[in-house]
Structures are given as C-alpha cells and as structure tokens.
Amino acid sequence: MVINDDLRSFPFPFGDSQVYKYSNNATPLRPPNAIELTDKYIDEIRLKRELLTNHPERCYQSSSQTLDAQWEIVDLILHNLVGYYPDQFKLEKKDEQWIFTNLQTKENIAFTFGDRTTLEVEPLDFIGRHVQEDLLLMMQRDGDLFLDAGQLCFPANWSLFFNVGMTFKEIHSPIPGFQSESLDDRILQFLMRIEAGTPWGRKNWSLMAGNKLDTSLETFAEWGQARKQVTKENAGKLVHLRVEVQKLFRLPQSNGILFTIHSHMLPLERFIQHTPWLEQFYAILHELPAFISDYKGISLYRQQVLEYLVEEMKKR
C-alpha cells in the first residue's frame, strides 16, 4: 500500500476507541504551536481571502473590546510562524515597528504593533489571512466565556454571525446530550482554568457529503443537497472524513482564550486504505447513537456509507 502525503499528514481522530462518546478529550499540546502548514496552504489561503472579500459579514466578526486581545493573537501567531517555519516566514522588529514577510504569498507587511490604523483590516482579520486555521477569540468576562471575535471561513455547519456575543454554553446548547451530567459546565470550567504556557489540543470529526471546506450554515441550501446523492457506489469518492484539529491558548494579557481550528478533509476511499482504520471507522459509525448522527448531519446517508465499508472489508 502506498501512503501518500495527504494520508500521512491527516490527523487520525479516533484514538483507540471503538465507540463514540462525548468527552473532554483535550490533551496538552506538544509542541505548543497554534498553527500548522500543509501542502494545501496556498490554495486554502486563496480561498479564505476570496470568502473574506465576498462574504465579510459571514467570515469576520468582532466587538470593540477585543482589540488588545487581537494584538496578542497577532504576536502569538507571528512568533509561531517564524519559530516553526523559519524558511517560509520572516519577522523583523524594531520596537513597535514590525515587518512581516510571507515568502509563500510573497508579501511584505509593515505595521506598528498595537496601532490599528497601520493595518488595512483588524489585527485578527490580518493574521487569519496568513494561516489555514479559523481563529476564534473567547473573552473571559465576569466568570463566563463569550465568543467576542472570530475569523471563520471554514465552518462545519455553523454561523459566526449568529453566534458572536454568545456564551460558551449558549453556543453549544444545540448539541444533543451536551448538558447531561453537566458536561457543559465541566468543559466550561476546564476552559476557564486553561493557563498561559499550557495550551491544549483536541480533535473532532464528522462526515461531509462533498469536499467543500466552507460549509457555513448560511449556505446550507447549496452544499447540503449532496447528502441526498450518496450511494454505496459513490460513497468512497463523494463522502469525506472531516477532522478539526482544535487548539486552545490562554492569552495572558487580555485573559482571553484563542481557539484555532484547522479543518482537514480526506475522501473516505483514501482514509480506509489502512485496514485497521477501515475496521475501526466501521465500528464507530455502526455504533454511533442516532442523536449524534443526526447532529453531525450523517443520518441521511449513514446506511449507504456503512454498506460501502462492508463491501470494502470483504475485499481485504
């Protein structure tokens, strides 16, 4: 079997579990890097910038009290970029005069750190245009977490425009079963205890009919139709495993939390090349409770995918 780069770099989302269960599956993030570059960098950056230009309201939201935290995010991500990818990014600093060079996009950007007027867009919007991740800022205010700013181009069926300003629990209230055993309280307490210097990471997975990264709630009518077209025969190509690598960083100056989401997609036929992954994925999808399958938007074509996986297992 040939393992290509797309498979090698694909984040395996299942651990060693055979069943899906809600949990706080976060682990300390090593190395503590907020961003990751893949070979899709240029394509995805281009797509992000197109979406931001054409749909600014959908892709970028911020409230006025977040500017300081936005600069903190710029500081963190720029230093991650030049620290982990020194051959692709350069940063020159002279006091507050910063010059950022992105060698892949061939851009040179000079600005005064902390001075909003020296950038064309807000700091969070600026830095988000240089990374594949979606960037969300939660501010801790009066004992709760609020989604106060975000740049979101690749949502898995949710709306930043709708959710901005909401608390963590309000945002997650549509998830079935999330309130049982006070799981929402526990995860909120966990998030509020995250400390600077100790970032966390977790993975989340779903299935997508189609290969679009920009599956916003606003455009569901366009991309949601593909769910009806899944058959046992086309599932391997049409259905994609979508994995979000999520990372959480405390911002010590503003006391906010940066939440980065890197969305990876792989057609099922590529993912199941490795037989143990095929068998584990079949077990998990087979046991997935109906309410989770409904929430993830899989129910309409789960049976077709299961039949496809059975066929594939017979071939091995």
């Binding site: 009066d142 503003s254 006391n255």
Partner: protein, 320 residues
C-alpha cells in the same frame, strides 16, 4: 502527572519597600521579555528547600515602568513556613529561579460601573496591576488601603504619585483619624464591584457586611493567598471506590498530599482551593469545604470537593 510549563527568570533588583516588605524584580534570562499579564494575575515561584521545592504564589505587578518584567512583593511572615524567609534572607540579585506563567484567578469585572478595592497590608499587591489595567482603559475605580503606619505602608509614594485622586489611606497607629471599616461599603453606588485582599478576618468581615448590605454575590470579589485557616484539623479515613483501597489522612496533611504520596496522580495547581484543578467526586460522607472555587450549590451537593484544602467530617468515599 502533567506539569505546567515554567519560565526561568533572573532577579534583577531587590528593593526594600518597608522594614518587612521587599520588592523583587524578575526579568527574562535572555534579551526577550516576560509575558504580559492581566490585572489581578499571579505567578507561582519554585524555591529550593531542604524538604523539597517550595511552591509559593505571588501577585505580579509592574511599578518600575519597564515592560516585560514581573515584580512581586514579599512580606516576611513571622511564622514563615520557609517561603518568605527564603526570599528575604537567601535571594540575591542575579539569582535564577523557575516561575510559572502568569495565571489569573482574580480578574477585574467587565460589567462593573465602578471598582472599589479594599486592601490591608500586603493585600495591596493584586490591586497594583488591577488599577494599572483600569487606568489604561479609563475605567472608574478607587482604593481603600489600611496599614499600621505610613512607614509600614508599602507603595505609599507610588500610589500617591500615580493615582492621587483614587487612593485613600488608613493608618492604625494614629497617623490618620479614620479607620478602615466595612461600613464604608454603604457609600458605593449601584453597579459597584468590590474587591477585598488582606488577612482572613478582614476578608471575612467585609464579605459578610457586603452581603448584608445587599451587594449581589457576583459583585463581591476576594483573594486569599493562604488557604482559609482551619482552626482544628482532624484526621479522617477515605475509601477510594475505583481502587477499593482505604487510606488515612492525618490531621497535619491534606487529602491531596496523601493521594500524591500514595502514587495517585491527581492533577492540581494552586493548592489553596482557588483554581479547581484538584476536584474529586465524592460518593459518600460529609465534606467540610475550605475552598473558594466551588459554588455554594456545588459545595452543598456534597458530591464534589477540592482535595487540596477540603476535608472529611469523618469517613469519605471518593470516586477515584
């Protein structure tokens, strides 16, 4: 267990603020700068000690005006268990020690219309960074600060100089006519958040008074650096349900210490009942809570406890 990251810092300056309080300036090892921090933040310092590393928590601030530094103030405690004595007697300029990243369990309220800080003695320290943050954001605040005398009042000149219109001082030796009293809480308008830091008795009196005067509980904030003093500690037995093992917690040890000593890896952080990291589930038995993290409702449920400070009133069965 997973250990949080630390930063190596060098002591770059030691300043005697009063006869019992020293200010230590900590800087990064190389030319870099230390992380910024929000108002009310603290760090944990790790000090060498014959009985093992001493973990002590200190509010951080920056009164020297240079960015990228941590400053802490340490009062030499008469009954020091080693931390303040070590800082005062052993630490020299140039020394290198590990400290934690800034943490904040005592942030300023976002929704407050006005902030009032009540400090006694060394309790001033968290308010130094909080006032600096509020001043930068043009927010409304005032400080009421009690000390034995003007000489014993740390940062008196700094406060008079930087926040001349917001500070009120109270000296118990007679230098000022007024004494700091909880009845002053009656003077603040609706929308005020109040913050207390000082000895246990002071926090207790002000908190009780604020509640009695009708302050909503989420308008009342306080921070204690030592765990709430436990007048009489008793030994208690525990049973660990998942391991089917029994242990005895002696009167002079915490439950967390006993668990760690027995190789049970309970995550923990602050060790004074403030951060909630060491929470364990209680199956049976009555808990005496000494933490300031769990809500009253959570405490009364008797189903959970912070094992760094809280104890059993008799035998406890724990879900670990």
């Amino acid at each position: 267990m997973y250990r949080n990251s630390t930063i190596q810092v060098r002591v770059s300056n030691i300043q005697e603020e009063t006869s019992t309080i020293k200010r230590f300036t900590l800087q990064a090892m190389d030319d870099s700068i230390l992380p910024s921090f929000s108002g009310g933040s603290h760090i944990t310092t790790f000090l060498p000690h014959p009985s093992g590393t001493l973990e002590k928590h200190y509010s951080i601030f920056n009164v020297s005006g240079k960015t990228g530094l941590f400053e802490i103030a340490v009062r030499l405690a008469e009954d020091s268990s080693g931390g303040s004595r070590y800082w005062h007697q052993n630490v020299q300029v140039g020394d290198v020690l590990p400290v934690s990243y800034p943490k904040n369990y005592f942030p300023v309220s976002f929704q407050a219309k006005h902030h009032v800080f009540y400090a006694a003695g060394i309790g001033i320290t968290p308010f130094l960074s909080m006032m600096a943050e509020l001043a930068k954001k043009n927010k409304s605040f005032e400080l009421h600060y009690a000390a034995k005398s003007k000489q014993q009042c740390a940062f008196y000149d700094y406060l008079q100089n930087v926040f001349p219109n917001q500070c009120h001082f109270y000296f118990s030796n007679g230098d000022s006519t007024e004494r700091l009293s909880p009845t002053q809480l009656l003077n603040h308008r609706i929308g005020t958040h109040v913050y207390f830091c000082g000895p246990e008795s002071m926090i207790h009196d002000f908190t009780i008074a604020a509640k009695a005067y009708g302050y909503p509980s989420f308008h009342i904030h306080f921070e204690r650096f030592a765990p709430r003093s436990i007048k009489e500690k008793h030994a208690f037995p525990i049973k660990m349900k998942k391991r089917d093992t029994e242990l005895e917690v002696p009167a002079n040890s915490s439950l967390l210490e006993v668990l760690l000593q027995n190789g049970i890896k309970i995550p923990y952080s602050c060790r004074v009942g403030g951060c909630g990291t060491c929470e364990v589930k209680v199956v049976d038995g009555e808990v005496i809570h000494f933490d300031s993290f769990l809500s009253e409702e959570q405490q009364l449920s008797n189903q959970t406890m912070l094992c760094c400070v809280s104890r059993g009133k008799g035998r406890l069965v724990l879900d670990i």
